[in-house]
């Protein structure tokens, strides 16, 4: 289909980790065979616990990190054959912490116009005008043009980061935890801004977040990651209304809505996150799964298509888990 702007096919990224003094290096499979399609105009959210490979995947999609295996395509062209500048014209990131992602020695104006300089924009005379336009779009007052990041509040800094990402008019924006370093009242401003910009500029977002309330609010599609695999992918309404994978269910249950009549949820997730250097056999989630069956620990589940999405779980495998579905 032509409306797929970014596609990952069976992508794997392995890091070699030092095993200790005089010991051989060990492989860490941060991303392990992921298929992902992002369509024009959608907001795809990637959720999962820390260490599940969300950020590694985002870096590969930005062309900052080559995959060990598999292929990545931007508008149908393989990313590894494209040069950096071309990727940067189409895909831009917004990072989590606006306190560390902005150079403290540079003025706001030069931070925002740097992408124009890097792209070798022909007409420096228009830079100031374009910066003013984008600053107005993201709600930054003009007077901060000559200020430095330390003079701005957290929300304003995140607006600078957004302005910098958008000045070259990319089509895809990868937001890695865009609001988790911000206060509640500022978070809502930034979420509103991201929504407005999406409508106004026709942007496509990949949002990485562990805050499921934010994800539910923004996303049109959701991919749930666990230990380097996407265990469930679905459109947002279906996933939030009827999560299928036991891990998706547990994640949704652990969202703390501000309702004083409910207590602290018990997610039954038991032991902590497994060591990614020493992956469990079979289904990776089985040591924490309350519905684990005997063959879960030996056989890795297949990818089972479900409507528009898919789930990786033996419970939904018609050949083996029929009986369990009913319970």
């Amino acid at each position: 289909m032509s409306d797929i702007v970014l596609e990952a096919r069976d992508v794997t990224r392995t890091f070699m980790i030092s095993g200790g003094f005089m010991k051989p290096k060990r492989p860490l499979h941060a991303v392990n065979g992921i298929d992902l399609r992002i369509r024009q105009g959608e907001v795809l959210a990637l959720v999962g616990e820390s260490g599940c490979g969300k950020t590694t995947l985002a870096k590969m999609l930005l062309g900052l990190l080559p995959p060990t295996n598999g292929s990545l395509e931007l508008d149908g062209n393989p990313i590894e054959t494209m040069d950096r500048l071309r990727i940067a014209q189409t895909v831009q990131p917004i990072f989590q912490d606006p306190y560390s992602s902005l150079n403290p020695r540079k003025s706001i104006g030069s931070i925002i116009t740097l992408p124009l300089k890097v792209q070798g924009d022909k007409d420096p005379g228009t830079w100031r005008k374009r910066a003013d336009e984008i600053m107005e779009l993201v709600g930054l007052p003009r007077r901060v043009y000559n200020n430095y990041p330390s003079q701005l509040s957290g929300g304003q800094r995140q607006r600078v980061a957004i302005a910098r990402a958008l000045i070259n008019r990319p089509r895809i924006v990868i937001c890695d935890e865009p609001t988790s370093a911000l206060d509640v009242s500022v978070q809502s401003q930034i979420l509103n801004l991201l929504q407005d910009l999406r409508e106004e500029l026709g942007l496509t977002y990949l949002v990485i977040s562990h805050n499921l309330a934010v994800v539910e609010h923004m996303a049109t599609r959701v991919a749930v990651m666990y230990l380097g695999r996407i265990v469930e992918e679905e459109d947002a309404d279906t996933l939030f209304d009827t999560p299928k994978h036991p891990y998706s269910k547990a994640l949704l249950e652990s969202v703390l809505t501000p309702d004083p009549s409910l207590g602290v949820p018990d997610t039954h997730l038991g032991a902590a996150y497994p060591n990614p250097l020493d992956m469990p056999s079979g289904c990776r989630f089985h040591p924490r799964c309350i519905k684990a069956m005997t063959h879960c620990s030996t056989i890795a589940p297949r990818k089972i298509p479900f409507g528009d999405g898919h789930v990786e779980c033996h419970l939904y495998d018609e050949n083996e888990g029929k009986g369990m579905l009913a319970s």
């Binding site: 499921l212 309330a213 809505t257």
Partner: protein, 343 residues
Amino acid sequence: MPEKPDSKRVLEVRRLNVEIPVPGGMLRPVQDVSLHVDRGETLCVVGESGCGKSLTSLAIMDLLPSKANRTCDEMQLSGDNVFHIGERAMSDIRGDRMSMIFQEPMTSLNPAYTIGNQLAEALQRHRKVSSDEARERAIYLLEKVGITAAASRLGQYPHQLSGGLRQRVMIAMALMCGPDLIIADEPTTALDVTIQAQILHLLADLQREFRMGMILITHDLGVVARIADRVAVMYAGQVVETGTADQIFNAPQHPYTRGLLDCIPIPGKTKRGARLGAIPGIVPSLVGHMQGCHFASRCPQLHEACKMKNIDLLPTAQSGHVCRCLLTQGSDAAARKAEGAVS
């Protein structure tokens, strides 16, 4: 440890102020804060960064930076004065009768000592016990906080544990002496959502079991709603509203509390993709003296009177619910309504 035959009030703080000299004048990060916690009760202090919630807890523990100056009408722990009693006496109380759990367990555990060492030290500093007894108590508490194979964990170092386990160790350490009061400053902020739920569960269970008072400091309204008995909302150095969790979440009085609740997307309630509420403007500087309501510059219901005089924390119509806003305060409220009608 035997239950002390005291009344049920564990902590009583009245009119606490903190002042810190800074280059531009005097910073007043905590102003006129009054709190109380009963035995077995959880008080959540909620507010955005810079509202003074962490400094309030440090002031109670007497752990402020040395150039900070604190004043207070009253500060009692289970009926005993703990204000300006000297560093010696205070360090006898800290970790014994009240203890603290910090946000980032990696930085608050000593990386050079084993878990067992650090747990035992917490007890041996305050009690005359043998190292065997201390070890036994450490194992007992590690099991209590849900750590399996506790005995073998004692020889491990903090870096060998995951974030969730480290936070459990911190909680066990805070419980070593059986404190009356536990202050948890953002205990789950550095953790994953799934682990967060487990740690909150644990804190709630332990608090019930050991009948402690607990102050939980957080910026996460979801956490507050699920665990708090009572809530104190702080803004710009002041407590602006205190009430039961039910009162704060279902009938918030202060415009700031209401604004804050509008800002968060609530699954199932907020329409997907709809605009969220926002509180325009920024937090005022707390350097120097401030006239009038601290929220005045961002308040959607501002009146002239709000800027004229300092506003006290006064009871609202419901018992136990206090609010620092003219809108909700007796004759003033009537006067303002009248004024609003004229203008």
